[in-house]
């Protein structure tokens, strides 16, 4: 029997109903979990997703640290299950581009390509995107050797030598996956030591075909049509070095997806939404949860916790509104 599972995301876009109790922006682990909880609270819920169901987690090959899956689970499968669960309890999920939001009035408005939707509460769960480094050559070679998605693009670098920029947990984890395809990896890390989870550090150190350039800054990505090398600088000695590579995978942290909100609700200096312990933002009726908010650890385990809390706060807010 074939495994005929599929994300029903791309076609289920007919949303006739315009008015909701709760609109959740973003269908990553946070938004989907919030949807499970608001659905079970019998609040009319719409989840609007900009790009793809599952968020950043969906493009993670193997999630090893999410409780309940001792043999690990693929991010795609995990988020697919979350989506099913949210829909089971009545949340609607739609993929559409959000053009504009008005969060200041009592009834919030969200303008999308599929029309305008209204709600009493909005939960911002728009997560974050991989940060680019803005080094010379990065833009030019995007899609020509520079990549931010190893699950998508690893096969194009079969038996090649590549660089992974960033030796945090993401960089090392994705590096371990890339090693199934590539010949060798040069890791470049700005800090004097790896910051990845210790278990990942142990694993990568056992591999022979990896080399570390710690305390090194990436200066440029070079080539003619496609990537041919990178230039790095030793931050201690100032020594510069060219390293021949055919690809560069960049994992240097996250940029919050908050362009839409300008300064309502209030953001910190990096653009993350500021919340209190109830996940309330500076704006009445607007809650924020998951990777998009200012917090100490951005993982699926913390994302789902946030989603549940934000949903509970939303429920309390609506009950007060109506009492």
């Amino acid at each position: 029997m074939l495994d005929l599972k599929f994300h029903s995301e791309t076609y289920n876009n007919n949303v006739e109903e315009k008015d909701y109790d709760v609109i959740i922006l973003g269908a990553g682990p946070t938004g989907l979990t919030a949807g499970i909880y608001t659905g079970r609270a019998l609040l009319k819920t719409l989840i609007i997703e900009e790009r793809m169901i599952g968020g950043e987690a969906a493009s993670t090959v193997k999630i090893e640290n999410y409780p309940g899956f001792p043999d690990s689970i693929s991010g795609m499968e995990l988020t697919e299950r979350m989506k099913k669960q949210a829909e089971k309890f009545g949340a609607k999920v739609v993929i559409s581009h959000t053009k504009e939001v008005d969060l200041t009035r009592k009834i919030k408005r969200v303008k999308t390509d599929n029309g305008e939707f209204h709600s009493k509460v909005i939960i911002i769960a728009t997560g974050s995107s991989p940060k680019s480094l803005n080094v010379s050559g990065e833009k030019k070679f995007k899609g020509r050797g520079v990549s931010y998605c190893s699950t998508c693009d690893a096969p194009f670098f079969k038996d090649k030598t590549i660089a992974v920029i960033g030796a945090g947990s993401s960089g090392i984890q994705e590096g371990l996956f890339l090693l199934e395809y590539v010949k060798s990896i040069k890791f470049v890390e700005f800090l004097p030591k790896m910051t990845a989870e210790k278990i990942l550090q142990e694993r990568i150190k056992k591999r022979e075909n990896v080399e570390f350039f710690l305390n090194h800054r990436l200066l440029s990505i070079n080539g003619k049509q496609t990537v041919e090398s990178i230039t790095v600088e030793n931050r201690g000695t100032g020594e510069k070095k060219d390293i021949p590579v055919s690809g560069v995978f960049i994992y240097v942290g996250l940029k919050p997806n908050t362009e839409l909100f300008k300064d309502t609700p209030k953001l910190d200096k990096y653009g993350f939404v500021i919340t209190d312990e109830y996940l309330k933002t500076s704006q009445d009726g607007i809650f924020a949860a998951g990777d998009v908010r200012k917090k100490i650890l951005r993982q699926v385990a913390t994302a789902v916790g946030d989603g549940a809390s934000a949903a509970f706060s939303a429920q309390t807010y609506i009950e007060k509104l109506e009492s």
Binding site: L4, Y11, H97, C152, A154, P155, F156
Partner: protein, 203 residues
């Protein structure tokens, strides 16, 4: 899954180009996926074409290589899929079948209106991989545009299974979309941005 097809207005006719010689393993997997779909719903018809022998049909549908899947109603509307529709690409296949089966699509009104003004032939190639979560979106837009405009053809290609084509179009990241073989862009865009890029490729 069965429920999903039950409210189809139209019958979907899938034409599948199979070969025992070229890419035989990919063909075998594709065939079994299509057989399974065929058995699930009476609204899905499946016809197998022998790529090696039936030169007329291969020519008529302008098929480059097997395995190739053409998704159509009664006439060819320009929806093509090359490769095994597995992983994330299974949803691309289901999506395209759904477009034809429901006979309607969701697309922003502006894009719909503007796209009717395109009167030149446009060939959209979208390169994808089965493990790329962003790819179904790009593929879906190509197929939607092909569905609403007879001059537009949407061809989705599994990049790993067709290395020569991938090399020809310098595919090093997916989704990669190529318009009329001369303009290309990487990444999953909104319908509006995608359409802007399409216009760049034909003007």
């Amino acid at each position: 899954m069965k429920d999903h097809f039950s409210n189809f207005e139209n019958t979907v006719n899938i034409l599948y180009f199979n070969s025992a010689k070229k890419n035989p393993n990919f063909c075998l997997s594709t065939k079994s996926i299509l057989y399974e779909l065929n058995s699930i719903s009476p609204k899905i018809n499946l016809k197998i074409v022998d790529f090696d022998k039936d030169k007329n049909t291969v020519h008529k549908y302008n098929i480059m290589m097997p395995p190739a899947t053409v998704i159509q109603s009664n006439t060819d509307i320009g929806l093509r899929y090359y490769g095994i529709p597995s992983g994330y690409e299974f949803s691309t296949l289901i999506n395209s079948i759904t477009i034809v089966g429901r006979g309607r699509i969701d697309i922003p009104r502006e894009v719909r209106e503007k796209s009717t003004l395109v009167k030149k032939k446009v060939e959209i190639l979208v390169f994808v991989t089965p493990s790329c979560p962003y790819c179904p979106r790009a593929a879906a837009i190509a197929h939607k545009l092909a569905y609403i405009n007879e001059h537009i053809e949407g061809t989705v290609i599994e990049a790993n299974e067709f290395p020569e084509l991938s090399r020809e179009f310098n595919v090093m990241a997916v989704p990669k979309t190529v318009i009329n073989k001369r303009h290309s862009f990487e990444g999953a865009f909104s319908e509006e941005r995608f359409f802007e890029e399409l216009i760049k490729g034909i003007s």
